[in-house]
Symmetry: C2
Subunit: 413 residues, 2 copies
Amino acid sequence: MDIDRANTETVERMMEARPVLVGLGKAIDVVPGMRHNLLLHAGPPITWDRASGPMRGALIGALLFEGKAQNAAEAEALVKSGAIDLEPCHDHQAVGPMAGVTSPSMEMYILENKTHGNFSYSNLNEGYGKVLRYGAYDASVLKRLHWLNDVMAPVLRHAIEAGGGIDIKALLAEALHMGDEGHNRNKAGSILYLKALAPHVAKAAPNADVAAAILKDIGDNALSVLNPVMAACKAMADAGRNIEGSTIVTAMARNGTDIGIRVSGLGDQWFTAPCPQPRGLYFPGFTAEDGSPDIGDSTITETAGIGGFAMAAAPAIVTFVSGTPQDAIDTTLEMYEITFTEHKYFTIPALGFRGTPTGLDIRKVVETGIEPRVNTGIAHKDAGVGQIGAGLVRPPMALFEKALVAYAEKYGF
Amino acid sequence: MDIDRANTETVERMMEARPVLVGLGKAIDVVPGMRHNLLLHAGPPITWDRASGPMRGALIGALLFEGKAQNAAEAEALVKSGAIDLEPCHDHQAVGPMAGVTSPSMEMYILENKTHGNFSYSNLNEGYGKVLRYGAYDASVLKRLHWLNDVMAPVLRHAIEAGGGIDIKALLAEALHMGDEGHNRNKAGSILYLKALAPHVAKAAPNADVAAAILKDIGDNALSVLNPVMAACKAMADAGRNIEGSTIVTAMARNGTDIGIRVSGLGDQWFTAPCPQPRGLYFPGFTAEDGSPDIGDSTITETAGIGGFAMAAAPAIVTFVSGTPQDAIDTTLEMYEITFTEHKYFTIPALGFRGTPTGLDIRKVVETGIEPRVNTGIAHKDAGVGQIGAGLVRPPMALFEKALVAYAEKYGF
């Protein structure tokens, strides 16, 4: 077994993938395996009784959004009755930030990897604060979800199609030269996204007021491109799946209770551990005690070689997640210790245009004792509240140790 | 004479100035002292016989644009006849990139310094390549100028007014955290500008096609915000003019033949020297031999504490102007040696959020022997060609020595 050769193939496929945002469609129509009684969620598999507060809040909100329940109690009873299935986004070529809850009628971004032909999906970004993905579900949350789904999505679909698609890989490479790291800081990426969309939105909107509202929404939401970026990273990571003998991580995701990873040479098996607690900066009125354990599929960005791994590209992010610009540099330098290669297309100007640390290698994590570093948002631990901060977290060593044991069992050494 | 106190007042006024883009109007209607037979130009005063190729080309183009001449020979004859006056933009509260030629019917950005009440002006940005400000004047150049003036400008005026103005100081502070330095790299700033404008453009445009064309133009031109930024820097620098005893530079500008500076404590007197030749990277097909001596009012950015002085904020710019990211850091560090203070509002994440070097001090330049560093575009030396590259240049020591001699004469020490 030539592990290095297997890993080279994995990372080459991940780096050569070219995910392009090609359109939108309702989850029920476009996401493989979507069903009317199915809700997708972030992270490895989870049941209602073990679900965290923000995950429960988002599941409730999604059922209210779908009109399958009239209030939180009805929604909870419906899930508990077994009438609603819960499955990971990752099992449906999808990813979702934070709770990642995706319901059948939600509009989804569709990404196509033009190199290898695989597709990936993600829902629309709601912005900061009191939003479904952080477990909030009041009337204002549902109203905004309906606006995104019913007003914005159809215009975006026409705009993206009219523009011939948006190359999210190229957008990310550019954003990394503009102070983004692509996970918690997507400020440049979101206005690059606006730039690509704007002329087509002006033409696709039914009238100037709707065009103006959509342009304002996309422009003002510094995370508007996060979901296409996450889906792009999913398409890149999926291109590296199932390479016999490879020790590279192809998925890393949290549901607020468990964190899990998948490894290329070990198929779709999840290796899990309890979610760690992020540390960071909190919005006024909240403290670390209010925080939920780590949650979300957004660690797909680090899996693809950006996000926390590319912190050195985004020194200004420390005002949002804590630390100093030197910490940001040090984070990236440390991640080179546990990754297999340096990205061919994602580069960091401040490091002399060095490629980002790419291909998280379970062998290196265990050998060096260095856990990965990821950026993350922080949700309130209770259902119904929302985002309370942002910070940093390290997926625990146990994940990588478990995976390495399974690898040794499968491959016999 | 307490020079430090005078300089403190100068830089405080420059830093506390808050230039807001409040609208547009034709030069003849809004620029103080504009006349029907007047063309404004970059740099200190110049005459036709001493004018460089790109300056002559831009003067010709402006007269063709105004319909005052039918061809280059007529335009040249008109200027030589004495029927057309030439005066510096700087004498009319205006600035213009490269040749900076501004004619009476050109639409101008209007900036208001909300702190001190002074106004400043700049024309519209044409983009890269074969453009008037680099001395090109063929039919395609004139056609584009007419589109900017007749189609885009009226929509921008309504959009800016509807938005209540755009705070260019805040935009610049943000862009410096997104890899811009505000002079040769305005990539982030230009899409922040698009973000501010887009919803209002959608509503202000006469129809969706015009809205789309304008949104595409502003978004695709990575220098679209350069002219408002330059005017903002002019408004900031002007706020520091005429402080008795101050040794801070309040204008630095080149006409392609002479480079000149003005000093706060020495009023509106220009101290001049021959323009140096920039060194940098050339577009395919051109070499250093094709380059014009340095030209343009854009050094108003360095005068206000950004541009070349803030290179450390923009490591990716070296792909455009030559050098390494470390050179970019070193440039900013060197500029601290010859400036009076560090900016309160313009900060550099990579330097631990240190303020940019602000307030170029003629004493320090002469004492240290360090000439300033500025970023610049490179024009072809012949009229009618256009931009051929971008690079770096140092305004020569002679400027600062002459100014210091004049200072000693005026203040008696």
